[in-house]
């Protein structure tokens, strides 16, 4: 997914591009965890367990992809969990109680999600409000709306819906659900957006330095509103897949999903300060959260509280390793004030290749010699 190296000659420096490093480390740690599970637990090492990671986290991946764009732009979207819930609720109500068709309801809820995202984006961009607060308000609003629609959960029995939800694609004797396919499509489109479209690059630019982006004549306002629209859309799509997953609408669905999505995004190497991030990283982030959970269920001996402590500890070990490995392999120690890597105002991060590959900045002879 790294776009920049499609150019010119292959070089050693490229292979160990420092920008790819966090991704590689994340991937390696994921494999390590999966490997540990395979050794430690019977039945863990199977294709289906691996595929289950996708089946069970497809909706999270979709939501996290939307979140990734927002975070790259330097914002945050806490409303996603609520949007997922309200999407399941509206879908279920319309399908079950009003007998509308799936093909009418789905575009409708997707549109509503996008619209809601746009609404938040407008508040953030034009009223200069803080994303955190606006989207927290959005979270309250969407969750609240669920309960205004119905406080009970609504089971969907519509035959089209259920058959779609239960449809399974076979892969080597194992299977995945339709959700997985949707999530992978979203993932692919997101990579295209992030790395091969102007829109995506402008998002990175805004995250890097919003004022500069504005001075460079980039459409900052429009892009920012669109980023939240996109996140709203992804959340709604996440809601649709969640509805497939659960076959029900309920106001308490997807509790705390905003934090899961955020965690997945950040674990995947995206910086909350904006400007740096990878869609692929987000995929790994989701997988890592999934694998932690799977490890714990396979273990099956932890009490409720030890479950929590174990999740926290694994997360901690993972993040600390990630940081240490990154620091170690970039070779260069942090300068004494570089607060953390990639803080917006970080001094030029001087990278090791420049030293090892020799200076590639050549200068003409100075004047007058």
């Amino acid at each position: 997914m790294k776009p920049l190296n499609s150019t010119e000659r292959f070089s050693l420096g490229r292979l160990f591009d420092a920008r790819l490093l966090p991704l590689l480390i994340t991937l390696a740690l994921f494999l390590l965890m999966f490997g540990y599970g395979s050794v430690a637990y019977r039945g863990f090492f199977s294709l289906q367990v691996f595929l289950n990671l996708f089946i069970d986290n497809a909706f999270l991946l979709i939501v996290a992809v939307g979140m990734t764009f927002v975070v790259i732009s330097g914002g945050i979207d806490l409303s996603v969990g609520g949007v997922v819930a309200v999407t399941t609720m509206i879908s279920a109500t319309l399908i079950q109680n009003h007998h509308l068709s799936l093909w009418v309801v789905t575009p409708l809820v997707l549109g509503m999600g996008a619209l809601f995202g746009a609404f938040q984006g407008v508040l953030i961009q034009y009223f200069r409000l803080q994303p955190f607060i606006v989207t927290l308000g959005g979270l309250f609003l969407t969750r609240g709306l669920c309960f205004l629609i119905n406080i009970e959960s609504i089971t969907i029995t519509d035959p089209v819906y259920t058959s779609l939800a239960e449809y399974r694609f076979a892969i080597f004797g194992c299977f995945v659900s339709a959700n997985v396919v949707i999530a992978l499509v979203v993932f692919a489109v997101a990579i295209w957006l992030a790395h091969y479209s102007t829109f995506g690059r402008v998002i990175y630019a805004i995250g890097g330095n919003e004022r500069s982006a504005m001075l460079m004549g980039l459409p900052v306002a429009r892009t920012k509103v669109l980023v939240y629209t996109l996140s709203g859309f992804c959340a709604a799509l996440g809601g649709v897949t969640f509805t497939f997953y659960m076959l029900s609408g309920y106001g308490l669905h997807a509790q705390g999903m905003e934090l899961d999505a955020l965690a997945a995004t950040v674990i995947g190497g995206t910086l909350l300060t904006g400007g740096v991030g990878y869609i692929t990283g987000t995929l790994f982030g989701v997988m890592i959260l999934g694998v932690i959970q799977t490890l714990i269920t396979f273990d099956g001996t932890l009490s409720s509280w030890w479950t929590r402590i174990a999740i926290g500890a694994l997360l901690c070990i993972f993040c600390v390793m990630q940081r240490l490995l990154e620091r170690h392999s970039t070779g260069k120690k942090r300068d004494s004030i570089g607060h953390q890597k990639g803080v917006k105002a970080a001094p030029p991060a001087r990278q090791p290749e420049a030293a090892s590959l020799g200076p590639n900045l050549t200068l003409e002879q100075p004047h007058g010699v």
Binding site: P3, L4, N5, S6, T7, E8, R19, W192, H195, Y196, S197, T198, R201, V202, Y204, A205, G207, G208, N209, R211, S212, A213, M214, L215, M216, G217, L218, P219, G275, V276, G331, K332, K333, D335, S336, I337, G342, K344, A345, A346, P347, P348, A349, R350, Q351, P352, A354, A355, P359, N360, L361, T362, L363, E364, Q365, P366, H367, G368, V369
Partner: protein, 510 residues
């Protein structure tokens, strides 16, 4: 506006005409009824002291700030540009003062973002990178364009910003102090390109504080003073001294600018001694001796490691080979805090990200290092803070309505002065000045150099870094020359000229 200086006859119709421009910021009347004309095929330099309103005029033009009054016509048509986006669409390309690019994007992207080459609906990275590399090669810069911008030193970033502006054909090109951290050599490259563009009929608005550059490239000069139009002149009608006089409003002895200033007699005890010092991935094997009462100049080209040397000596990058000694005693700087405790101060070259704290007031910015030196609990009383701040505002002529204005709102040159004040306030024994005169007007430059030399006379040691070699030669007692992050030699100043330094850089051993 000075009504008694009639505008010289226009060669053709101006492509840009700004009339009666007025702009107020809270507490500052930045532009007062300013008129400005720009003709096709000319380089028009806007000159004025720090805070005269040059950048503001440009920002009003490109729609960053709405004007309070006045009208702008582009090629005879009245326009209302409300955002930089609109200005770009109208054919105006701008390089704003300070580097305004995205640090996280690659060099190539920074140049072409907004106008990416596309193929089959997707960005064509190969073409993009090739085009960017070619464009930079035209400016004699051969760098890896796929690396993020912030991996390059500020001078390279400035070149990239220029390249971005040159990457598309525009009617008007605006360059606000694009050369402030460039070497002579890059400046010449830039000028070559500008002359080509001019020949093609482009109108170029240029801002600089370097008189040589002004006279080297411009056709016409507009002088602003205190937000008012002082006058518009053809360059051949305006001798340097008159220009300075018009900018500053008083007589300035230009000769003193060109005289070597340092007299060797003041040097005293060795203050800081670096022996074989180095930082992995940075400068290596550095032997440097800095004495009290002496200015040590650092010579070298862009990327030769001058800034890295400064960072090493200030404890930003830990010294992990060799050793440092202060006053004869071995010292180990784990952070700038340690260096400051030893009486060292450092004015970084990258003022925006490493220097100012934009939302803090001028006063807080000035006392910050002193306070950090005193520690958390010996808090300077507000009264003292104001006294210190006001003293330096006066002494350095910092142009600000009061000490409580956020420093980010000051003009670039005045921010630089405030940073200098920050370190002078700590009563340091040694100051590292990395490009201290960047973006500073002629008069202020003289003042600052005077201050620096006055400090050395009181026994201060100074490490002086500037990309203007002439300046280095003039103020230094000795010059250490760096190449490829190593010291290649040392020259006593006074007897040498720039040529000697360049020769050493180019490879001639001493």
């Amino acid at each position: 506006m000075n009504a008694n200086t009639p505008l010289p006859a226009a060669p053709a119709l101006p492509i840009l005409h700004m009339r009666g421009i007025d702009k107020r910021f809270p507490g500052v009347h930045a532009l007062k009824n300013v008129e400005f004309r720009l003709f096709p095929g000319e380089v028009h330099t806007l000159m004025g002291q720090n805070g005269a309103g040059k950048s503001t005029l440009i920002k009003v033009l490109t729609g960053v700030h709405p004007a309070d009054a006045g009208e702008i016509t582009l090629a005879g048509q009245q326009v209302h540009l409300t955002a930089p986006e609109a200005a770009e669409a109208a054919g105006i390309r701008t390089v704003y003062q300070e580097v305004n690019l995205c640090p996280n994007l690659s060099v190539a992207e920074n140049i072409y973002i907004g106008r990416f080459p596309k193929r089959a609906g997707r960005i064509d990275w190969a073409t993009l990178n090739r085009a960017a590399a070619d464009l930079l090669a035209g400016l004699a810069l051969h760098i890896d364009v796929t690396r993020p911008l912030n991996t390059y030193p500020i001078a390279v970033q400035q070149m990239v910003a220029i390249a971005r502006a040159l990457s598309v054909d525009a009617r008007i090109l605006i360059l606000d102090e694009p050369t402030s951290s460039l070497d002579e050599d890059e400046v010449q490259k830039l000028f070559t390109v500008l002359r080509q563009l001019k020949a093609r009929g482009m109108a170029i608005l240029f801002v600089t504080h370097f008189l040589e550059q002004t006279y080297g490239i411009s056709d016409r000069i507009t002088v602003l003073r205190n937000g008012e139009l002082e006058g518009e002149y053809r360059v051949d009608e305006l001798p340097r001294l008159t220009l300075i006089h018009k900018m500053v409003g008083r007589q300035i002895d230009l000769e003193s600018l060109n005289q070597p200033q340092a007299n060797a007699a003041t040097a005293g005890e060795t203050f800081l001694n670096a022996r074989d010092a180095g930082h992995s991935g940075g400068v290596q094997g550095l032997d440097l001796e800095i004495r009290a009462g002496e200015v040590l100049g650092l010579g070298g080209l862009l990327g030769s490691g001058r800034t890295e040397t400064a960072r090493l000596l200030f404890g930003v990058d830990g010294c992990d080979s060799g050793q440092l000694a202060v006053g004869g005693k071995q010292a180990h700087f784990k952070s700038p805090h340690d260096a400051i405790q030893h009486g060292i101060g450092y004015c970084p070259e990258d003022r925006k990200t490493e220097g100012i704290i934009a939302d803090l007031s001028v006063r807080e910015n000035i006392i910050l290092a002193l306070q950090a030196k005193r520690g958390l609990f010996r808090y300077l009383p507000k009264k003292r803070q104001y006294a210190i701040a006001d003293e330096y505002i006066k002494q350095l002529g910092i142009k600000t309505p009061d000490a409580d204005r956020p420093i980010g709102l000051l003009s670039g040159g005045n921010q630089q002065k405030a940073l200098l004040a920050r370190w002078m306030a700590t009563d340091p024994k040694m100051l590292i000045l990395d490009e201290p005169t960047r973006g500073i007007d002629v008069a202020a430059k003289l003042e600052i150099m005077d201050q620096v030399l006055a400090l050395t006379r009181k026994g201060l040691a100074i490490l002086f870094i500037s990309s203007e070699m002439g300046e280095v030669v003039r103020v230094s007692h000795r010059i250490a020359v760096l190449r490829d992050r190593r010291k290649v030699g040392e020259l006593p100043a006074g007897s040498v000229d720039e040529q000697a330094v360049f020769q050493l850089i180019a490879g001639g051993e001493q």
